[in-house]
């Protein structure tokens, strides 16, 4: 057991830090420090491409697909340096963290060659078509249908909460391809181009006032029959495999963003004297400890994953960070007091910390609610029985 990095790894750190500093103090100074996912989308695309050209986009992927073949330690280091440099959240995070790894795991050689370099080079942005109005926590209840017509899959239905669909070139969709099938059977995992007349994206305004996610309608949308991951009817297996990738190295980059948020709370508490309040001190200490334990939990999980083992504690990660961040949003408002309640001007657009208080309510819902996470932990890690379904008696 060892936490420190080797001299070679520290040299890699210096190289990554130098490149990031040069870009973010130079041509990309305008995207430095951005925190919103939807701000300056055009410049964010440029930034994705710049990372891709220089081979810093998907450092852990094989070189053959546009990656850097970085070791686990190097991936960890790059994630840390990326956030430390104030680089913005990745516009294509769904492509990099979800679509890419899923294609790498389940795709054919042709699919890998077609899609992965385009993600790694920042040329194609992805979004995720999972949830539907009638399929939230009970994801297997999807109703979106697809059938074959000559060389195409034709898709009918509606997805919801599709983050970043307004900027995306591709969407991966779970659709029912076996008529009359129920639950996880008869689903397929389709890769669908967004820019076509059969796809309509309608933004949904969320409680922050921003519109990061959308409703996505499929009305005779088409994709080539080659664009299916896994066999027809095996979509659930692919979709569940993808959930495992949500706990990859990207968690460490995400944590560096959390670090910046906690630092902002501490700075606010120092500035207005709340840093002397013993109750606030306890809560800040809890947040500090929680953040460190996320980091070391992620390092345990990644070390095991590198050795080909799934650490069952990986199942606890989503609820851990989501709850931590929601608590931080509440702490931020308790530190700010009334100053957090108002903003000058007429736009409903709050600064980072009050916005965190609002935004973090989504964290404990999307990607599997806290309640679903507890079910998963109880059933898969602790071996407890499933709750009986109400509709399969």
């Amino acid at each position: 057991m060892k936490l420190g990095f080797s001299p070679e790894e520290e040299a890699f750190r210096a190289e990554a830090a130098a490149w990031l500093a040069a870009e973010l103090n130079g041509p990309f100074a305008d995207v430095r420090g951005l925190t919103s996912l939807v701000a300056s989308p055009d410049r964010r695309r440029d930034w994705e491409r710049r990372l891709g050209e220089a081979g810093w986009s998907c450092v852990g992927w094989p070189k053959a697909y546009g990656g850097r073949d970085a070791t686990l330690a190097e991936q960890v280091i790059f994630a840390e340096e990326y956030a430390r440099a104030g680089a913005p959240p990745r516009l294509n995070h769904i492509g990099i963290e979800l679509a890419g790894p899923t294609i790498l795991a389940f795709g054919t050689e042709e699919q890998k060659a077609r899609f992965l370099p385009a993600i790694a080079r920042g040329k194609e942005i992805w979004c995720q078509g999972y949830s539907e109005p009638g399929a939230g926590s009970d994801l297997a209840n999807v109703r979106t249908r697809a059938w074959r017509e000559s060389d195409d899959w034709v898709i009918e239905g509606q997805k919801v909460w599709t983050s970043l669909a307004q900027f995306s070139d591709w969407i991966f969709v779970i659709a029912r391809t076996e008529e009359g099938s129920k639950g996880p059977k008869g689903l397929s995992f389709l890769l669908v181009p967004v820019d076509q007349s059969g796809v309509t994206v309608r933004p949904i305004h969320q409680i922050t006032g921003e519109a990061e996610f959308n409703e996505t309608f499929f009305d005779g949308a088409r994709t080539n029959t080659a664009n299916i991951l896994g066999a027809p009817g095996d979509g659930w297996t692919v979709a569940m495999g993808l959930l495992g990738f949500e706990r990859g190295v990207s968690t460490l980059a995400q944590q560096m963003g959390f670090r910046n948020e906690l630092d902002a709370v501490i700075a606010a508490a120092r500035a207005n004297g709340e840093a002397k309040n013993p109750l606030i001190r306890q809560r800040i200490a809890k947040a500090e400890i929680g953040l460190k334990l996320m980091r070391y939990g992620a390092l345990r999980m990644l070390t095991d994953a590198e050795g080909g083992r799934l650490n069952p504690s990986a199942l606890t990660y989503k609820i851990q960070w989501a709850t931590w961040r929601r608590d931080l949003g509440e702490l931020a408002m308790d530190v700010l007091g009334q100053a957090g309640e108002t903003v000058a001007g007429h736009d409903y657009a709050f600064p980072a910390l009050p916005n965190l208080f609002l935004y973090s309510r989504a964290d404990t819902i999307y990607g599997g609610t806290n309640e679903i996470q507890r079910n998963i932990i109880a059933e898969r890690a602790l071996g407890l029985p499933r709750e009986p379904r109400g509709d399969l008696k």
Binding site: I266, I284, P385
Partner: protein
Amino acid sequence: MHFAFTDEQVMIAETAKAFFAENATSERTRAAMAETGVDGALWQAFTGDLGLAGVAIPEALGGAGLGMVELAVLAEAAGRHTAALPLLASLTLAAPAILAGGTDEQKARLLPRLASGELVASFATVNRGETPRATFSDGRLTGAALHVPHGAGADIFVVETDNGVAIIECGAPGLRITPLTSMDQTRPYARLDFGGALAEPLANPRAAVHAALTTGWLAIAADALGGAQACLDRTVAYAQERVQFGRSIGSFQAVKHRLADMMIAIEQARSAVYWAACAIDEGSDEAKFAVHAAKAFACDTYSDCAGEMIQLHGGIGFTWEHDAHLFFKRARSNASLLGTPDWHRERVAALAGLDEAA
């Protein structure tokens, strides 16, 4: 960077786990509770046959010459069974104090005998706000230490006073040792009244106290981790077999979600304990932060899990006969010993820079 056990560490963990599972049984622990609070045969086997007691003592001084990770592995394994041993007092408080702050002669004279179990030592510290306090001058100890873990069974004591650290033997004329009834009967306390007894100074009191507290905090956190995991494992087993309303109670979300919450906390406690152990071993800048974090987080986790264990077992969990109270009481003892979770979090708050200018 490799945050997983090495093969050797896995072997130590498995050996220790099997040893305590076989020997630190509920029956034997309860027999010890009815007497002195120490299972003497277990202590002999632990320090003798198992050969791991001196894990963090250098080989030249009779130990195994390993580090904090291995020590935490042992403490976790012992904690899983609320083993009735003076492990914490003797090997994770007194021994590190002597190793870090003793003269070469003191180390050579005492540490091999601590590693072999021939001597049992304890560490007496003065808690915040307590009076009377202990003082050390002209080679004599006066005053008192009110809560000394395993105090009644120790052969020697390392005593932290307001002016220095001294070693005193249990038979020193003037020293009075009064056993106390302790809520956790597997970790009995005693009061020491020093009465001007002769004691020998440690060469480096500051280093001694630092080492004792750092190692002690880590060992308590590791004990808490092992105990919390045992609470979860036993409660999961019970929730699977206990049937009410025609279903095992573990199929109800009201129950399974609480068990999931226990696991979420325990996995964080595990990260905390081994992060702290590595940070100390590697001399990391984070070591201080890590050990306060581990002590606070693991102790809170143990208290929560032991409380849930009682609640989810229902009436049987409140009986003397069931083991739940052994964990519940050890969890409380761990939380109170050497700084409560709130106290450790306040240290973290200070380390996080809250007192710096805006």
